[in-house]
């Protein structure tokens, strides 16, 4: 009762505070079609099998989760209204929302939850099975509206995993019917229902009038595939699209001045770094890795190449992740870089390979060119080579003895929105390629130990303290040249309200999004 009272009070205060803003924009209107231009076609519309941003973003419009992220990655109840965790951290019990139905009429209940998670544990092995199979032992139906997760190990980030795009709950009946082809016939509980997917052209969603959380305002959402950056920008200016993703930084000024479109730039969790292959000489020497970090002027790169649409970060963890610690990173200090190189036995500098994909990450090639010049200034001569993405992935996935990479640009965005997933897969000793995603063949047992401690923590304070220590250690013993986290710029018609631009690089709409007529 007391909790309810609090919520009511907060809602009242927030409501009063926001009311003038709402009046200024006009009252939310119902109806209308939103035309949203995304950059690429989704790979899959089955949440358990997608690894693409459009796939996940469209999934978030069609589906719900037990718990969900808001636009700042805080966790809120969604289809679960309450939950408790056992003292040993091994059992989580969720109370489910009542009266919810999937788009095909299948009732949402504890059985549906069990079915969804057993997909990850069983023989089907969807693409994202690795998210849950190492952690969940089994799922029990306690009663119609209560479900219990039994974990193999205590896992302090369990709620983050449940809010991950792959944990969206799909209709068991639809999955039984379509199997792997669920991607072509997705069925969720979300505010919008799937209508059609014309590959390479568009995906159409229509309002779910029976949405449990109230009728959505938009009538139809059409997600178009518009690959070319300038074509998206021109289409927005022409009024053909209401919403576009990924505006090139150099276009932002011109577009804003025109006043015909609105631009929002939000911090994303995508951290870019120059990985260093620590298994190769001379990069096995920590002084060389430190020197490389001192040699790069991150502030200048953010200002001149990204025009402010990025933030310098001290490690490989983006600032909006749970557990991000604002530890002290490497300042730009070429003198110190030279000194460290000399101490390591390279007083006259050294020659390195510097690789980058082209067009995969925002301004990737320009970024690496700048790094090349800055390295030159401390006597590190980097020969730059760019690759097409598939070839690049293939090169970076090679096991240690076959790997040829030395310095390489790579991005990582932990889709669970927490620091541990930002560090562990790309840093842990157990995660070297090809088993995991650690392509720098870095290994620091103390970092591993701290991450283990964070995972096993049963209090948030304890968990975040271990993560902070791990980040401090990663600065002292760097695995990469740490650089920046990009911002995601979206452009929209000034008539559009309530877009969600998540740090997970997902741009989507929900039931409250509306469009002026």
């Amino acid at each position: 009762m007391r909790r309810l009272g609090w919520r009511f009070a907060i809602a009242l205060v927030v409501g009063v505070a926001l009311a003038p803003a709402a009046w200024a924009q006009g009252q939310p209107q119902v109806g209308g079609t939103l035309v949203y231009a995304a950059g690429v076609d989704p790979d899959s519309l089955d949440p358990a099998n997608t690894d693409s941003n459009p796939g996940e973003a469209i999934g978030r419009m069609m589906n719900n989760f037990l718990v969900r992220f808001d636009a700042k990655l805080r966790i809120h109840p969604d289809l679960a209204t309450r939950w408790t965790q056992s003292k040993d951290g091994l059992t989580w019990t969720f109370t489910l929302r009542k009266g919810v139905k999937f788009h095909d009429g299948t009732p949402f209940n504890a059985e549906a939850v069990r079915y969804n998670f057993e997909r990850f544990l069983g023989a089907e092995k969807p693409l994202k099975a690795g998210l849950h199979s190492p952690i969940i032992r089994s799922v029990d139906v306690v009663d119609e509206h209560t479900v219990r997760f039994n974990l193999k190990v205590p896992f302090a980030f369990f709620l983050n995993n449940l809010a991950h795009s792959a944990s969206a709950l799909v209709s068991p009946a639809a999955h039984q019917k379509w199997g792997k082809d669920l991607t072509l016939h997705p069925v969720g509980t979300g505010p919008f229902k799937f209508v059609e997917w014309v590959r390479g052209d568009h995906i159409t969603l229509v309002r779910n009038d029976d949405y449990f959380d109230g009728k959505p305002r938009l009538e139809t959402v059409i997600v178009k595939t518009v690959r070319e950056d300038s074509a998206r920008v021109l289409g927005l200016e022409a009024g053909d699209y209401d919403l576009i993703v990924r505006i090139p930084p150099e276009e932002v000024g011109r577009l804003t001045r025109g006043g015909k479109v609105r631009i929002e730039a939000d911090q994303s969790n995508r951290a870019l770094r120059i990985g260093i292959n620590a298994s190769k000489k001379p990069f096995d020497d920590v002084r060389v890795r430190q020197a490389l970090n001192y040699a790069v002027d991150k502030d200048s790169i953010v200002k001149n190449i990204y025009q402010g649409f990025a933030a310098v970060i001290p490690t490989m963890v983006g600032p909006l992740n749970t557990g991000y610690a604002p530890v002290k990173g490497y300042p730009y200090d070429p003198v110190k870089a030279k000194k460290l190189l000399a101490e390591a036995g390279y007083p006259s500098g050294l020659k390195v390979l510097l690789w980058t994909p082209k067009g995969r990450f925002l301004k990737d090639f320009e970024l690496v060119q700048a790094v090349q010049q800055q390295l030159q200034a401390v006597g590190v001569e980097a020969s730059l080579q760019s690759f097409e993405w598939a070839a690049y992935l293939s090169l970076l996935k090679k096991p240690k003895d076959e790997a040829k990479h030395e310095l390489y640009l790579i991005g990582w965005s932990p889709s669970t929105g927490e620091a541990r997933w930002g560090i562990f897969p790309i840093t842990a000793c157990s995660q070297w390629r090809p088993i995991g995603s650690n392509d720098s063949f870095y290994c620091n047992k103390d970092v591993d130990g701290l991450l283990e401690k964070a995972v096993a923590a049963t209090s948030l304070k304890e968990r975040d303290e271990s993560l902070r220590k791990a980040q401090e250690l990663l600065v002292q013993d760097p695995s990469s040249i740490y650089l920046l986290a990009t911002k995601e710029t979206v452009g929209m018609s000034p008539k559009l309200h309530g877009i969600i631009n998540s740090p997970l690089e997902l741009v989507y709409v929900d039931k409250d999004t509306w469009k002026e007529k």
Partner: protein
């Protein structure tokens, strides 16, 4: 004639065999793996191996090719590794868009190209001739990408006359047809002018004029028909390459055509899609060439195929 056409169609079999074999080999020679692309950065070794097994990519290459060929003969091109859409559906969908775009573009190209070429050749070295040949030079030299963006900027953003891209109505086809047809119009105009200038020097043209035919009849019936052979060749080549995929135009105008399907398939190493698209493109080229050859016989009765 019919036997000739049948023989040419039969030739499709070795051509397609060659096309698929070469594209299959090339795809497997370049670095990159569909399972790695699909799995993404986070995929573990286990994930990648599972995807390989699922799509039969763990089999020996010869087995993979033969299985593909055997299914293709039965009209089954498999499913896209990227999206699980059946490749046959993708091809049919894309073919519809590509046909629309190619027909609209070749219409623009031939109307503008023939007209400019014929008029220029009747008034060689006049102001019109100079202007239209300069225009043709411009059309050939201008990158489609740039022209496309410029057209969008003027007609969609500034004037709001036409949509900036995408599909849906005939209006959506106008700008891409101008962008794609523009370069072909330039080629056709220059070829028409050159070919016409040669023909109008001939004795039979003087004879036609001496018989008292009107100039229009002389030019269209006597000169143009005889000048058609080289023009047809260019026409066939241009149309063939349009059908084969106009990747740049499709990208600028966000049209889901064969070209983009092929290029995106290559980037994702989506083998079934690339193979299917190559078969379609190969078939199209052979058929367009055949049509061109048959058209030769129509314009020049001396040409006989036996």
């Amino acid at each position: 004639m019919l036997r000739y056409i049948l023989r040419r169609i039969f030739m499709l079999v070795p051509v397609l065999f060659g096309v698929t074999l070469v594209s299959f080999s090339l795809l497997h020679l370049v670095p990159g793996d569909p399972a790695e692309v699909l799995g993404g950065q986070e995929a573990t070794k286990e994930d990648v191996e599972r995807i390989r097994r699922e799509y039969g990519l763990d089999r020996p290459l010869a087995v993979q090719y033969l299985r593909f060929a055997a299914n293709a003969v039965r009209g089954d091109f498999g499913v896209s590794i990227q999206s699980r859409h059946p490749v046959r559906d993708l091809l049919l969908q894309r073919l519809a868009f590509t046909l629309q775009l190619s027909l609209a573009s070749i219409l623009v190209a031939s109307a503008v190209g023939l007209l400019a070429g014929v008029v220029s050749s009747t008034r060689p070295y006049s102001l019109f001739d100079a202007t239209s040949m300069l225009g043709a030079l411009f059309g050939i030299s201008m990158p489609i990408f740039w022209l496309g963006l410029l057209l969008i900027l003027v007609f969609a953003v500034r004037l709001h006359w036409l949509p900036s891209g995408g599909t849906g109505t005939l209006l959506h086809l106008i700008l891409p047809a101008i962008a794609l047809g523009g370069a072909s119009a330039a080629v056709i105009a220059r070829m028409t002018r050159a070919s016409m200038l040669e023909v109008v020097q001939q004795d039979y043209i003087r004879t036609a004029r001496a018989k008292g035919h009107r100039e229009g009849v002389v030019i269209l019936r006597h000169a143009l028909k005889n000048a058609m052979i080289p023009i047809l060749t260019v026409f066939g080549l241009e149309f063939g390459s349009m059908l084969g995929g106009a990747v740049l135009t499709e990208t600028v105008f966000s049209l889901p055509g064969i070209g983009r399907l092929l290029v995106e398939g290559i980037f994702a190493r989506d083998y079934p899609v690339v193979q299917g698209a190559m078969i379609l493109v190969g078939t199209t080229f052979v058929l367009v060439n055949l049509l061109t050859d048959v058209a030769y016989a129509f314009f020049d009765p001396r040409i006989r195929y036996e």
